[in-house]
Symmetry: C2
Subunit: 446 residues, 2 copies
């Protein structure tokens, strides 16, 4: 599911009609700065997790209007001839600065900064937000779940509860948030994610009895496989599962519990396994888990968590609330100036910004956001405040993608980066309950 064809129509129509009108007023060519940020975090969230960066870079590269896209736009009469000419030649030649994948963010963090002409930068709004809002929502939920799991592996199994392409992106975002594997094969192919899974209840039910089903599975995958033991009676299921593995000359790898009271069952089944001498056989649980259920299962003898629905739907918050706003643009005099909407609600802070994290004794204490005329000036201020710089170059001026942020190893690095950034947060940030962001955001201007 890597982006292989054009992503240019994954775009709200108004991006193109704005270009159409701006080409007439000459505003289209004004140098502009767009910023992606969150005004707030969803309830109960203490931090957000940046995810989707690698997919954004693929999408920006594939953002080209080929003959097929132009034909559609021309046929539908959406924009005029001048705009079609602009789109035919379109390729992003600006620059993108951003928090690297896996980094934590807070309200006001300048998560992504897109610079270029108004036309070339505004047009990326929809697809950039689609990717960041989806992937960050899932990664943020995943991070809470892996925090709650205290080192026990979490496995992503939610494909059936989200759009089929989202499922692949969700698996990837889950890994950014610390997950150890996914059930989706396309996630294995596209991103090298370890895939997992053995059998569903239907596999037991299609056989004449549980013994026949377990024997067939052990024959195919050896005694080290995971057997689903709750199709009929769990106690009989566990007995048969251990026996099936031993008949094949080994000890059973694991049993899976997918229904009922998981905490109580985990204790009962662990006791039964131990009494059968199957002390190495593990227990995986998989029914309707979220971070709270995982936390509740912490005291139970469980070895792995399979998480579905609640992970891929962002555990109550299926979309991050990231927005893409024009914060500065060139004036008629050629000088850059800050801009911001000023009516009623939805205000924002204008101007180019850099983000830094102030860390004291190994603990993050502040998200410092500096409004600045240039990145260099902002960074100097971060240095003065002793803040770790949070933005990296993702696309170089001229449109060249910085390859280390996608492709081989990028996902593993993002996970490592996330776990390190999360470890650095104060204890309160890891809590699942209602509360303030993990660290406060302070705005400053230079």
């Amino acid at each position: 599911m890597r982006v292989t064809s054009s992503t240019a129509l994954l775009t709200d129509m108004y991006e193109l009609t704005m270009i159409d009108a701006a080409l007439r007023s000459s505003a289209a060519s004004r140098q502009s700065v767009f910023e992606v940020f969150a005004r707030r975090l969803p309830p109960r969230r203490r931090y957000g997790v940046v995810a989707g960066t690698a997919r954004i870079l693929d999408a920006v590269e594939a953002f080209r209007f080929t003959g097929a896209e132009i034909d559609y736009l021309a046929g539908a009469g959406i924009v005029g001839e001048q705009t079609l000419d602009f789109l035919r030649e379109y390729t992003f030649r600006g620059s993108i600065l951003g928090y690297p994948e896996g980094e934590c963010f807070f309200p006001g963090s300048p998560v992504l900064t897109v610079r270029g002409t108004f036309a070339e930068a505004v047009i990326l709004e929809t697809v950039v937000l689609s990717i960041l809002n989806h992937d960050s929502a899932v990664a943020s939920a995943a991070s809470r779940m892996t925090t709650a799991a205290h080192g026990r592996p979490c496995l992503e199994m939610g494909a059936r509860r989200t759009h089929e392409a989202s499922a692949v992106a969700a698996a990837r975002a889950a890994v950014v948030g610390g997950f150890a594997g996914s059930s989706v094969l396309e996630a294995g192919r596209s991103y090298g994610i370890r895939t997992i899974g053995t059998a569903a209840h239907s596999f037991t039910l299609v056989h004449d009895d549980e013994e026949a089903a377990f024997a067939a599975q052990v024959e195919a995958f050896g005694p080290g496989t995971t057997l689903l033991v709750d199709t009929y009676d769990v106690t009989r299921g566990v007995e048969r599962a251990v026996a099936a593995a031993r008949a094949a000359g080994g000890e059973l790898g694991a049993v899976r519990l997918d229904s009922g009271d998981l905490v109580a069952q985990a204790f009962t089944v662990r006791e039964q396994l131990d009494s059968l001498g199957a002390t190495s056989t593990k227990i995986t649980v998989t029914s309707d888990l979220d971070e709270y259920a995982i936390a509740a299962l912490n005291a139970a003898p469980v070895d792995a968590y399979g998480v579905g629905t609640r992970l891929v739907t962002g555990s109550g918050h299926p979309t991050a609330e990231l927005v893409y706003k024009l914060v500065a643009r060139e004036g008629a005099d050629g000088r850059m100036r800050e801009v911001a909407k000023t009516s009623a609600s939805k205000e924002s802070v204008g101007g180019l910004k850099v983000g830094g994290r102030v860390v004291e004794d190994g603990r993050a204490v502040e998200e410092l956001v500096v409004s600045c005329g240039t990145v260099a000036a902002g960074r100097a201020e971060l240095d003065r405040a002793g803040a770790r710089h949070l933005q990296v170059e993702l696309v170089r001026e001229g449109g060249q993608i910085v390859e280390e942020h996608r492709g081989d190893g990028a996902l593993e690095r993002a996970q490592e980066r996330h776990l390190a950034a999360r470890d650095e947060l104060p204890y309160a940030a890891w809590r699942l309950s209602e509360g303030e962001p993990g660290v406060p955001t302070r705005h400053e201007a230079v």
Copy 2:
């Protein structure tokens, strides 16, 4: 975004490992019946809306393991050689019966029935559920919103708040639920959906002042365009908007309000427009709407609703809770028998089923679900009960897709079908509040 490449890896790994094991036990070739149904509706929902049928048919057709998929599976060692041979030759040759797109469903409704060998039918589980759960969740939310809008047009604008491919499917599902258009260009290209949109706040901000922005937009799209009037001061914005259209020799098409108290603003702006003589100028509102906000705006002078986040995230329920369960399969004696999980929770009713709706005096009064040995026997029972048959043939025995359920006109027919099915429900089913399903489901066996 039509499915043009293989959909075969949009699949949970366990579907393939089950086939691997079942090929050894010979269960793989047992004739099987899988049923998609919902155990319950999400809180506050009185009915569900079937959506995604056309996309499922495309996905089933594209479910082929080409060299690339086989190479991945072989390289990752996921299944053995015998299974790879099976997959190389795989194409669905069973049959699919289902509620047509747009039809309403209730707990226990047999929304989709997939028949074939165990192996050929189990393998479709993940992608079928991904599509149905996503698209039905969005269509169900859309239907509540169009009910609340009482005939005022609802427009889909949520692309930026969901995965970029989900956005296209969500636009389609929204139309099934009664929406009149979408902002996503790919939805226009792929499904012929009317696309809408004019400009964002950034367009106003990139110009030196609001007058310049409005003039540019009116020059590009004529006075009939929609101007966004809340970047600075709304009252001044409305004044300038009307003036910009008149300067181009016409009356302004519409103003858009995207922030603040929309109910209060709609009244103020309507009054202002009327006092300016712009009585034909319409008002579109677009900020954080859902079915409740739309209902609250009903008394306000609003002409159209643009709905984003809450639509594409299923208004609190981003996934329908549809499951895909084995309900009957061939035994060793060659005869079909009902099967069902019997432990703890997640029970279901075994056996092939047909669904019908009992309608009295033009109002639906019951969802009748008949467990039956054959579809013909079940339908005879529906006829006896005077129930409208709800299932249609989507894929004919042997794997031939019934073309009328996808392609040209299918989406329009699905919307018409939905509006008719919804109209037939009792008044209580249209309410937005907590309550029972719109009609009760009755199970019967013949």
